[in-house]
C-alpha cells in the first residue's frame, strides 16, 4: 500500500541469543536503516530483545486461510511421524 508514511515493514525480535526470531508487529519506514531504528524505538524500549530483523511486508508470501484444509492435509494421516506411534518393550524403559 503506497503511503506518505513509507512502506510497511514486519519486525522480528530475538529475545536472547540462541532463541528464534519472533514476529512482534509492523511499522512504516522509508528505508532499511530507518526501519531498524524505528523497530528499536517501537518494539524494544524495555530490553525486549537483543537482535532485530526488519523485512518489507511486500516480500512476505503467506498461505491463505481458505486453502488451509487442503494445504496442510498431507500431514494429517501420517501419525507414524510421531514417536508415540511405535511400541517399545517395557523392559527398555525410556527411549
Amino acid at each position: 500500500m503506497s503511503d506518505s508514511q513509507g512502506p510497511l515493514w514486519e519486525v522480528f525480535v530475538q529475545k536472547k541469543a540462541g532463541q528464534p526470531f519472533v514476529h512482534c508487529g509492523s511499522l512504516h519506514a522509508f528505508d532499511k536503516e530507518m526501519a531498524l531504528q524505528n523497530a528499536r524505538d517501537l518494539y524494544t524500549r524495555r530490553n525486549e530483545g537483543m537482535a532485530l530483523w526488519v523485512v518489507p511486508s511486500s516480500a512476505i508470501t503467506a498461505s491463505s486461510p481458505e486453502d488451509m484444509g487442503s494445504f496442510f492435509e498431507p500431514a494429517n494421516d501420517k501419525v507414524y511421524r510421531h514417536p508415540t506411534f511405535y511400541q517399545i518393550p517395557d523392559a527398555i524403559g525410556h527411549m
Binding site: Q5, G6, D31, M34, R46, P65
Partner: protein, 312 residues
C-alpha cells in the same frame, strides 16, 4: 450460497473463541466496526500525548521529567501498534490520519479536558490510564488477532503509567495542605470525565450489541464502569481525598458501590467537538502533521535515490 459458508466458518470460529486473522473472511460490518474502534483507539493514544506533553517542560524534578517523557513516548508507541493493527483491515495509514485530521474519526473525549496543574498529570496516570487498562485487559481477548496482540503489548507497558500517576498523587496528598488541595481539585475535575471513558450506558450504546455479539468486547460499558469504581474508591480513601459524588455509597447487596452517572449531555457535547480543548488538540495534530511533511518527503526522496544507486 458461497457467502453463507464463509459466514458459518466465521461464526464457528467466534463460538470456539478462536481469533479472526487479517486474511480470514469477515462480514463487512465486522471489518467496519473494527476499523472504527481500533482507529479511534489509536487516535486516542496519539492525541493523549498532548495534554501530558504540556507538562514535560515544567515537571517538578528531573526524575519526574524522565518518567513523563517515557510515558508520553509509550503513548506514541501504543498509537503506532494500533495503527498497524487497523491497517491489516485494509485501510491505509494516510486515510487513518486523514480521518483524524478532518474530524471524521473520533478519539476519547477525555483528552479534550485541560491539564491545569501538576496534579492533573498524577490524576491522568492514575485514573485515565487506570480506566484505559480496565478496558484494555478485556481487549487482550478480543476476537481480532492483530488487535488482541497489540493489546497484550500495551497492557504490559500500561501498568507503569498508572503506578507513576498514583505515586504523584501520594506525594501531593501527603504533602502540604496546598498540595493536598491541588490533588483534590484534580480528582474533582477528572472523576466524571474518566467515568465517561467507558462509553454511554449499555441501554444507549449504539455499538455495544454488535461488539458483544462479535466478541470484540467481552464486557459491557456499565460492567467495566462498575469495576473501575469498585477498584478506585479504596485508592481515593487511602489518599485521604473525597470522590466528588455525594451519591457514592457501598451497596452490600451487589458487593459494589452505587454512584452517580456522569453528565451524558456533556459527554455528547465534548464528543461533538465542543469540549474545552477540542480545537486546540486537533489543531496541534494537524500542525505537527503539516510541519512534518518535508521530513517525510526528504526521507522518501533519499530512499528513492538509494534504491536507484543500488540498481545502477
Amino acid at each position: 450460497m458461497e457467502n453463507k459458508t464463509y459466514e458459518d466458518l466465521f461464526e464457528a470460529k467466534l463460538a470456539k473463541n478462536e481469533m479472526i486473522e487479517p486474511k480470514d473472511w469477515m462480514p463487512e460490518n465486522y471489518r467496519k466496526h473494527l476499523i472504527r474502534q481500533v482507529s479511534q483507539h489509536a487516535h486516542s493514544e496519539i492525541v493523549g500525548m498532548l495534554p501530558e506533553g504540556n507538562w514535560i517542560t515544567r515537571a517538578p524534578s528531573l526524575r519526574a521529567k524522565k518518567v513523563l517523557l517515557a510515558k508520553v513516548q509509550d503513548e506514541g508507541g501504543h498509537g503506532l501498534y494500533l495503527y498497524t493493527a487497523a491497517e491489516t483491515l485494509g485501510i491505509s495509514r494516510d486515510a487513518l490520519l486523514d480521518n483524524l485530521h478532518t474530524g471524521k474519526a473520533k478519539y476519547s473525549s477525555i483528552f479534550n479536558y485541560p491539564t491545569l496543574t501538576w496534579a492533573d498529570i498524577g490524576a491522568i496516570g492514575w485514573l485515565v490510564d487506570g480506566a484505559a487498562i480496565m478496558n484494555q485487559v478485556m481487549l487482550q481477548r478480543t476476537s481480532y488477532g492483530p488487535y488482541a496482540r497489540a493489546m497484550v503489548r500495551i497492557c504490559k507497558e500500561e501498568s507503569f503509567h498508572q503506578r507513576q500517576g498514583y505515586e504523584i498523587m501520594t506525594h501531593l496528598a501527603f504533602g502540604t495542605p496546598e498540595q493536598k488541595a491541588m490533588a483534590q481539585d484534580a480528582l474533582n475535575r477528572w472523576w466524571f470525565p474518566t467515568m465517561m471513558m467507558f462509553g454511554p450506558p449499555d441501554a444507549e450504546s449504539p455499538n455495544s450489541e454488535n461488539a458483544m455479539k462479535w466478541r470484540i468486547k467481552r464486557e459491557t460499558n456499565d460492567q467495566l464502569r462498575q469495576r473501575f469504581v469498585n477498584q478506585t474508591v479504596p485508592q481515593v480513601e487511602y489518599l485521604g481525598l473525597t470522590v466528588p459524588d455525594p451519591k457514592l455509597k457501598w451497596n452490600e447487596a451487589k458487593k459494589g458501590y452505587d454512584f452517580s452517572e456522569p453528565d451524558w449531555a456533556e459527554f455528547k457535547n465534548v464528543i461533538s467537538g465542543n469540549g474545552p480543548c477540542n480545537k486546540e488538540r486537533l489543531g496541534a495534530r494537524v500542525k505537527a502533521h503539516k510541519e512534518g511533511a518535508w521530513v517525510r518527503e526528504a526521507a522518501a526522496a533519499y530512499a528513492k535515490k538509494q534504491n536507484q544507486s543500488i540498481a545502477a
